[in-house]
Structure formats: structure tokens, C-alpha cells
Amino acid sequence: MQSNEVRSDISDHEDHPGTSGIWTFVFIDMVVFFLFFLVYISERLRLPDIFSVSQRQLDPLTGLASALFLLTSSWCMVEAVHATRRNAERAAALYLNLALLLGAFFAGNKLIEYSDKIAHGLSPVSNGFFTFYFLITGLHFIHVIGGMVFMGHCRMRLSTELASKNFRKKMENVGLFWHFVDVLWLFIFPMLYLAGTK
């Protein structure tokens, strides 16, 4: 690298959504989750009966509801970002609120599911499957909470910062992260709740 070069990740193209850092971060996160999925599969191959029997204790409709909440929340976030680009404050506020609300529904659904499992004596140390169930959904849950915190921050700053380019980039970054959280669930849901239960 030449000594007078600037870092390419800080000279962002005007038209690229978000800043390059978020794309890098999301990719690294993708790799980490891929590794978790790899380890899950290796464990599933080692203990197929335990995994199949344990998976049947999950309710696919609960997983489906979570997927629908997140997909709809993602849609609202897209609309919020578009509204931000148009400087449409009321629309941006409405869609951000909806995205947050649906995120809260996801979180609530997850907490109810966790409580139910624990009430039935299931925990991360029950068996190999439930270690992964709690670990993978727990990590994802942390991402959901993080996303909601960022969305909440944007909602609070909306009226004062809407017109600035920095805010638009911030919204796009938060949107990108939120969509990634959604994409993760699109794989977690079938892997844990649907596949291999027969």
C-alpha cells in the first residue's frame, strides 16, 4: 500500500447504500454464522436421533410467526429508508415505528418460546440439539435487540437529522443490518424447526 493512499472504506460512493464498513461487518457476521451452522451440521451427523427427536419439540408455527414478523419488519425498514431519501418525515417515522413494533413482536414471541422450553425442563445443557437451539437463536436474538436499539436511535434522531446525508447513511446502515438479521432467520427457521423432523 502506498503511504499516501487513503482507506477505500472511508471514501464512499454517493450512490452506494450505507457505508462500506457495514457491508464488511455483515459479511464477517455471515462467516461466523456459517461456522456455527457447520458445527451444528457436524453435531447433527454425530447424533442424528437426539437431534430428530429434540427438533420435534419445537413448534414450526412459532418459527413461522417469527419469520413473518421479521420479513414484515424488513419491508417496513425498506419503506423507512425510502422515505428518508425523500425527506418524508411522517412516512419515515411511521415505518420506523412499525419496524420496531414488529421487531418487538419477534422478541416477545422468542421470549415466550424460551420460557415454554425452560418450563418443560429444556435448557442449553439438556442435550446437543438444545445447546445449539439456545446458542444460535440466542445469538440471533442479540442481533435482533441490537438492531432494534439502532432503529430506536434513528427514530429518536429522525426529526432533527432527517435532512443530513449522515442520517441517510445511518438509516441505510441500520436497514442493511436489519435485513441481514432477517436473512439469518430465513436459514435458522428451516434448519431448526422444519428440516429432519421426520
Partner: protein, 246 residues
């Protein structure tokens, strides 16, 4: 200190990084038969002796050597901390956290290696139960104090990503560093499992995080540190994001 001497020392310290990697792989990993380590939580004391310490007497020598080379990690971490300055040339909290993590990680390597050397050398002289106790306790210390290295990696990650003026380290290396640092967290499961990916020799808790730590974090930053210390003083200041004083 003369400029030439300063540069020579800096470059010598930078080469401590690769020296650590090569020496630890050989002494701790190969001589110490830790690729992978024995699954102590699933072994009886007699099995630990018959299948590990008793079977491989070279473990003692490997661990004594590993105790020496472990501190090269600390040396390298000190150099790294000295590079983590702001645009005014000042070190800050992130530099200190990186330094603290590097010192403690190096110490951990040295201390734990010495403990495992004792297990090896005293095999046959003390009961297998005592050997297993010391061996296991040492692994708990080695693995479950992962936060030592996590804080180092996260502090370095924050510096790399947030200091937009520096070009020593690319942002992606910072993200990778943070990811690996956080990836250590499942080590909390290690003491409680006897098989699967989170056991001491498991796919996640050994293969993925140790390989990630030594190659994707340490190897990557070694590369960029070496590149940096071979630059001219003026180029180094620019790469570090130092504000021009003239």
C-alpha cells in the same frame, strides 16, 4: 536513541510475532501433543496418564520451551500497543487494553505451559488423580480466561475500524479480530461437556477458534505490522494517521 537503532529494535520486535507462531505450533502443539488436546473431561486419571502424559514423554520438554516462547506474544503485543496512537501521536485507552490483553495472554501461555510441564515431568511420581487435577485446572485457566484475549482483540478492532486516519491496518482485519474475539465466548461451555463441538478439543472450541486466532487474527496483524515497520519514518507517521506538524 539513534534512528537506526530504533528501527532495528522495532523490526526485531515485529519478528517476535512470527517467531511466536512457529515456536508455539512446534513446542506447545506438536511436542505437547495438543493438536488436538486430550479430552480430559471424558478421561479417567489413569487414561490421562496412559493415553497422554505416559505415552508422550516429550510433552514435558515441549511445555518448558513453550513457557519461554509464550512471552514472545507479549513482546509483539507491546509493539502493537506502541503503534496504536491517535492523530496527535498519543496512546489512549484502547492501546492500554490491547497491551493488558497481550501481556496477560503471553503470561497465560507461559504459566499454563509450565503447569502442564509439571504434570508431564511428575508422571509416575505422583498419583494420576493429582496429575488430572492439575492438568484440568490448568486447562480451565487457559480456556476460561478467554476474556483476556477477547479484550485485546476487541480493543484492536475498535482502533482499526474507528481511527479513519490510519492506514496501517485495513478495516476488514478489525472486523475479523472482533469476530474471533467474540467467538471465544462458547469456551464457557468447555468445563461442562465431554463431547461435541464445545469440548476442549471440539470443532468450535479448539479447531475453529484456535485456528482463527492464530491465523486470521494474529497472522493477519503480523503481516501488516511487519509491512509497517519496514516503512520509512515519514511514511510510518502518515500510515499511523499522524497530523502533519509542519
Amino acid at each position: 536513541m539513534e534512528e537506526g537503532a530504533k528501527k532495528a529494535i522495532e523490526r526485531g520486535l515485529a519478528w517476535c510475532g512470527p517467531l511466536f507462531v512457529v515456536s508455539i505450533i512446534y513446542t506447545w502443539g506438536i511436542m505437547g501433543h495438543n493438536i488436538p488436546p486430550p479430552n480430559m473431561m471424558a478421561m479417567t486419571p489413569d487414561q490421562l496418564i496412559s493415553e497422554y502424559y505416559g505415552k508422550y514423554p516429550e510433552i514435558g520438554a515441549g511445555m518448558i520451551l513453550s513457557a519461554t516462547f509464550g512471552l514472545f506474544y507479549t513482546i509483539w503485543s507491546c509493539l502493537l500497543a506502541s503503534l496504536m496512537r491517535d492523530e496527535h501521536g498519543n496512546v489512549g485507552a484502547l492501546s492500554f487494553i490491547e497491551l493488558a490483553g497481550g501481556i496477560l495472554t503471553g503470561w497465560l501461555f507461559a504459566f499454563c505451559s509450565a503447569m502442564w510441564a509439571a504434570c508431564s515431568i511428575l508422571t509416575g511420581q505422583v498419583s494420576p488423580e493429582i496429575i488430572k487435577m492439575v492438568h484440568t485446572m490448568t486447562w480451565f485457566i487457559f480456556d476460561c480466561t478467554y476474556m483476556i484475549t477477547t479484550i485485546q482483540m476487541c480493543a484492536l478492532a475498535l482502533y482499526t475500524i474507528l481511527n479513519k486516519k490510519q492506514t496501517m491496518f485495513p478495516a476488514w482485519a478489525g472486523w475479523v479480530s472482533a469476530a474471533i474475539g467474540i467467538g471465544f465466548v462458547p469456551l464457557i461451555f468447555m468445563p461442562f461437556v465431554t463431547d461435541g463441538p464445545f469440548m476442549v478439543a471440539g470443532l468450535w472450541n479448539f479447531w475453529i477458534i484456535f485456528t482463527g486466532w492464530i491465523f486470521a487474527f494474529f497472522g493477519v496483524y503480523n503481516f501488516y505490522v511487519l509491512k509497517h515497520v519496514y516503512k520509512s519514518t515519514a511514511d510510518q507517521a502518515v500510515a499511523a494517521g499522524r497530523l502533519a506538524t509542519v
